[in-house]
């Protein structure tokens, strides 16, 4: 998911630049998990804005699992509040930049062109939870985990090195950038040792092919049947006892 943190309130006000009538839209995905754009946070921010004299025309909270960046869902919420979007001076998106721009593009296509910005700073892919998260993947477009014991050096090494540790490893095997963190290549070595595949460290890896990460990337897929998928999700939640 996309880790995120909310910007300081002062910065949000600064970006609003005098706009009075506001639409607030949250996200039921990562922003709910990171408490930067769930239904509760949408209401909290709305109140803070109202206390400074702003008029919040719509508080659009998306239930958990409903993603701002997934238009088949988010467009329905936009449509429900389209009059508020038309009437507002600015749209505040309580999502990551993906969600914000997906909605912005949709509104632009509808001819509703409004100042729109994101109240959160997105911090990139992370995994973990419910409270601790760590970045594991860069989305480089050319995954090499098979060669590196399932640990991505592009992400875990500060320098994204593909051919072993740098000279900055501390005497205790920690990273020069963060003395609390093990050098990624020490971790990879330890795991390769357990897997009996240390020999992989003797092969030179070609420079990474960054052409797969040329931006902005576009993908096309066959659409999913949401009802069918949600029914599966419901069954799985019940079976696994997820809370």
């Amino acid at each position: 998911m996309n880790a995120q943190e909310q910007k300081p309130f002062e910065e949000i006000l600064e970006h609003l630049n005098g706009a009075k009538k506001i639409v607030l839209m949250g996200c039921g995905g990562c922003a709910t998990i990171f408490r930067t754009g769930g239904i509760k946070e949408v209401n909290d921010l709305a109140e803070r804005l109202e206390n400074t004299g702003k008029e919040v025309l719509a508080r659009i909270g998306l239930p958990f699992g409903f993603l701002c960046c997934y238009l088949p869902v988010s467009s329905k919420f936009v449509e429900e509040h389209i009059e508020a979007f038309k009437a507002c001076d600015a749209v505040l998106m309580m999502s990551c930049g993906d969600g914000a721009q997906t909605v912005r593009e949709y509104l632009d296509e509808k001819g509703v062109v409004k100042p729109l910005f994101c109240v959160n700073n997105a911090l990139g892919y992370s995994g973990g939870g419910p409270t601790q998260f760590h970045e594991e993947c860069l989305g480089c477009g050319d995954c090499k985990l098979a060669l590196t014991a399932g640990i991505c050096p592009l992400t875990q090494c500060s320098k994204s090195l593909m051919n072993g540790p740098c000279g900055g490893v501390r005497p205790d095997g920690k990273c020069e950038v963060d003395p609390e963190r093990d050098c990624a290549w020490v971790q990879i070595y330890k795991r390769l040792e357990k897997l009996g595949k240390v020999d992989l460290l003797l092969e030179m890896r070609e420079p990474h092919d960054w052409s797969r990460a040329a931006r902005p990337r576009r993908e096309e897929v066959e659409s999913i049947d949401m009802m069918e998928e949600l029914a599966r999700t419901k069954r799985a939640i019940e079976a696994l006892g997820v809370r």
Partner: protein
Amino acid sequence: MAAKEAYSRFMEELLSGKFVWTGELEPGKDIKESLEAARELKGLVTACNVTDNPQSFASISSLAAAHVIQRETGMECIYQLRCSDRNRLALMSEVMGAGILGLKNVLALTGDYVMLGDTPAAKPVYDLDSTTLTYMIHRLVHEGKDIAGNDVPNPPKMHVGVAAGPGVDPIEPEMYKLKRKVKAGAEFVQTQVIYKTEVVDRFFKWVKELQIDVPILIGIFPAKSYGAAKFFDENVTGVDVPREFLAELEQTVKIKDKEKRREETDRINIEYFTKFLEHLKGTPAAGCHIMAVGYPRIIPELKKIVE
């Protein structure tokens, strides 16, 4: 892989089996001091490394500095090139440029993380790493190909070397990496500073085990003052200056007479490094890389120990 022929005096001496000494010059933001130091080191060392944005502090380009130092002083340079600040296109063009400027030795480095220096907001590059940079240079010199595989009609004749960090724990990832770099084309190795003979022995045990067959120069750092040793201890990752050596140097701070303090500092260094270098004579070390910036007077004393 070991060089078959020498394009530089440095490699010529290594191939002859002579114990080779190299020094280090940091161009910083003014070349003047490096030029003076190069003149002082002339005759004491075979070649000098010219650092590339050391510790990620923006400095005069190592290529430009090395070229000027060679031209003005006749000191042969091992020009350092790090991956932190340039992508593969820039590295490739720079190495070809080094060729036309007459540089004959290059040390391929990953480079300190940019956040650690004086320009922390810079975007770190690391498009290549020291292994792939080594391979890029090897292929250019020996196959006449650039990194994209295009022909380079008059490829430069130069030797590529790499660094090694024998003092880290666990040592295995570092040694496998060194083997990988030698397989990629490294023709010589200069190690990070070592103070302890146990570290030297453990390192050469691995060198033998992995059949790393290129000349290796051991990095040493005689400290011209307590302050220099302390700075090194605190600021250079991968190296711890032994407490007893530091403590002994600390005592010199109390000596008021400048000349006497100098003498005592030299005595401490010579005592420490006599033991160290005597030990080194019994190892396959091909030479020493002396990172004693501003301390050339100690070098003849150190050379006496080995010769």
